[in-house]
């Protein structure tokens, strides 16, 4: 039985905030396949194309037939725990702080035996469901989870360290006016977020939905304009030290290609979607990165909502697509810059959203509720890359298969 997490006490101002340590981060190139799968929440292992063997740990050649023709494939996560142990001593600073630590060996239904972390609700001889999760070092690791959901299972310390669950955490959502904000805030509160701060730009402009947001409990609307460095710095000065999850949903989008569109809208798209993201990261990032070991409500994730056109542009939104590609690039840099702190950078890609700027487009379109749900699920699962909706998932899949083919299809010429 997992003990449910209790709301954290107020911080003792006389104690130094613990400096984050990381579990071992080195991996072979082959082993990074685990990380890539974990980033998307998939359970994938190396399969030999020649003899069909499934192997773990990943290697450069098949352990059965020595073929180098190996590929990563989603695999049955069923397994049985063969043995478990409790580690009481470790030279590694990360694990020393968390001793004793339970580990076990599991026999996967797919074949291999693997050493893995154990959720508190599973033990020797039990059938379990394996998952690949990103650890604090951002590397894919195996954890054995209960086959069926157990009460408060997300509160298990081993699992919580592998996710960015909103429970008892304080969340900043950067754009109050976005259609996704209301469902997002509702989902965050349901998931147990203790406070949701919502950034409101241009308080001198009335907007009708404000009252509904303001009426929610545990919600505070605060001034924040991503295009204004001073505004971002001021809010970070006020709440940067208690922002555990930052969700940037600010977005400027206007239709139009490149030839027919002037650069005024494109500049606004860059100001909000790219430079705004940079300003947020610069203002909030350092404080968040210093608080990833700050107890139950430690800083956990920096989330950016993106369009799938970050991967390949939709020519009907040329300037916007460029801003999304740039924002994606910035998120990747941030991932590297936050790596030493264990702060997770999550990117959520969506296809056309069901809003005013995509109004004449036919379905499928991503509803604000669906996008909100994907964000929460990504946090609870501890993902880095979330593809929300059929369009984004399909684009990502085709992009991985052949980016050039996808480009040709998206830009005309494919039927």
């Amino acid at each position: 039985m997992t003990h449910p997490l209790t709301p954290p006490p107020k911080k003792d101002p006389q104690r130094r905030t613990r400096v984050p340590t990381l579990p071992p981060a080195s991996r072979s190139r082959a082993a990074l396949g685990l990380t890539a799968a974990a980033a998307e929440g998939r359970f994938a292992l190396q399969h030999c194309t020649d003899c069909g063997a499934v192997q773990y740990p990943p290697r450069d050649a098949c352990c059965k037939c020595l073929s180098v023709d190996l590929h990563w494939q989603d695999t049955d996560p069923s397994a049985k725990i063969l043995a478990e142990t409790r580690i009481h001593a470790s030279p590694d600073p990360y694990f020393r702080e968390r001793l004793p630590w339970r580990m076990g060996s599991v026999k996967l239904a797919a074949g291999p035996v693997a050493v893995c972390h154990l959720h508190g609700d599973v033990g020797r001889g039990e059938q379990v469901k394996m998952a690949l999760k990103l650890d604090k070092a951002g590397q894919g690791v195996l954890i054995a989870l209960p086959r069926e959901r157990t009460p408060d299972m997300e509160d298990d310390p081993s699992l919580r360290a592998l996710t960015a669950h909103p429970k008892h955490r304080r969340v900043l959502v950067t754009d109050a006016r976005s259609p996704v904000t209301l469902p997002l805030v509702q989902h965050l509160l349901e998931a147990g977020a203790s406070t949701v701060f919502i950034g409101e730009s241009e308080g001198w402009r009335r907007w009708p939905e404000r009252d509904r947001l303001a009426a929610l409990e545990r919600v505070e609307i605060l001034p924040l304009d991503l295009t204004d460095a001073r505004s971002v710095a001021e809010l970070a000065g006020e709440i940067g030290g208690k922002t555990d999850i930052l969700i940037n949903n600010a977005r400027f989008i206007r239709p139009g290609g490149v030839l027919g569109q002037d650069t005024v809208f494109a500049r606004d798209e860059m100001e909000v979607n790219v430079l705004g993201l940079m300003r947020l990261a610069q203002a909030f990032g350092p404080a968040m990165a210093s608080r990833t070991e700050d107890g139950t409500n430690s800083a956990a994730a920096f989330v950016n909502l993106l369009s799938a056109s970050a991967l390949v542009p939709d020519p009907a939104f040329g300037g916007f697509g460029a801003s999304q590609a740039a924002a994606r690039s910035i998120c990747q840099t941030l991932r590297a810059e936050f790596r030493a702190s264990g702060l997770r950078v999550m990117t959520v890609y969506a296809g056309p959203t069901d809003d005013t700027w995509h109004q004449p487009l036919p379905p499928p379109k991503v509803a604000p509720k669906a996008l909100a749900h994907a964000v929460i699920e990504g946090l609870c699962e501890g993902l880095e890359d979330v593809y929300c909706g059929d369009v984004a998932r399909d684009m990502a899949e085709r992009w991985k298969r052949d980016a050039k083919v996808l480009e040709r299809e998206m830009t005309g010429g494919g039927t």
């Binding site: 402009r205 009335r206 009708p208």
Partner: protein, 260 residues
Amino acid sequence: MTNTLDQLAQSLSHGAIKVVDLTHTLDPDFPVIILPPEFGQCARFRMEEVSAYDHRGPAWKWHNISMSEHTGTHFDAPIHWISGRDIAGGAVDEIDVSAFVGPVVVIDCSAGAAVDADFELTPEIILEWEALNGPVPADSWVLMRTDWSKKRGVDYLNMAEDGPHSPGPTPAAIELLLQRNIRGFGTETVGTDAGQGMHYTPPYPAHYLLHGAGKYGLQCLNNLDQLPATGAVLIAAPLKIKGGTGSPLRVLALVQEAGE
């Protein structure tokens, strides 16, 4: 005989003539006009630190700033509006500098605007004003005082679902002022036109008629309650922007102190 300029300088230094600042601070949070989102928008004032006595520049602090020609307290040139696009010398850099200093009269509409956000400046109000103060002098600035500059936050634009609600002139009022051959017209609101000015014929009469006649506009003015109805001098020199349709500027008024 004492030189006039010497007299002016002495009056300024003795405080017999007061300098009144009619300008709002350029602030990122100051409202700008909002158009339907599919149209291009007026850029807000933004300031970006380049260095602040640090590694980016050890002994100096400076900012890059950006804004629209029509952000904050600003000047409208004739070419701002389609009706004025063919006016010779109608860009801010082409206007004769003598137009930037001159007499100003103030029509006080603050009592009406306090009770009616859509308060209109009408010919009748102008004629009443003239009955008290004499005719509006030719080549003078005419400012419509509403005390709207004291409003803050959402009350300034006062946007509703049917658009903004703020006071302004009727087409007939502007036509009457053009008969007086004024230099320009200024307001405390975000534009020289009323918030609902698009529903007049012609739409946006102050912009359309004034600029079509080669006259100038001033908006987002401040402190108009410190000006007398007549007798003050306005100093309003826009930046010399090549082909500029307007410009943020510092607007000053010279006012004779009472009893001097």
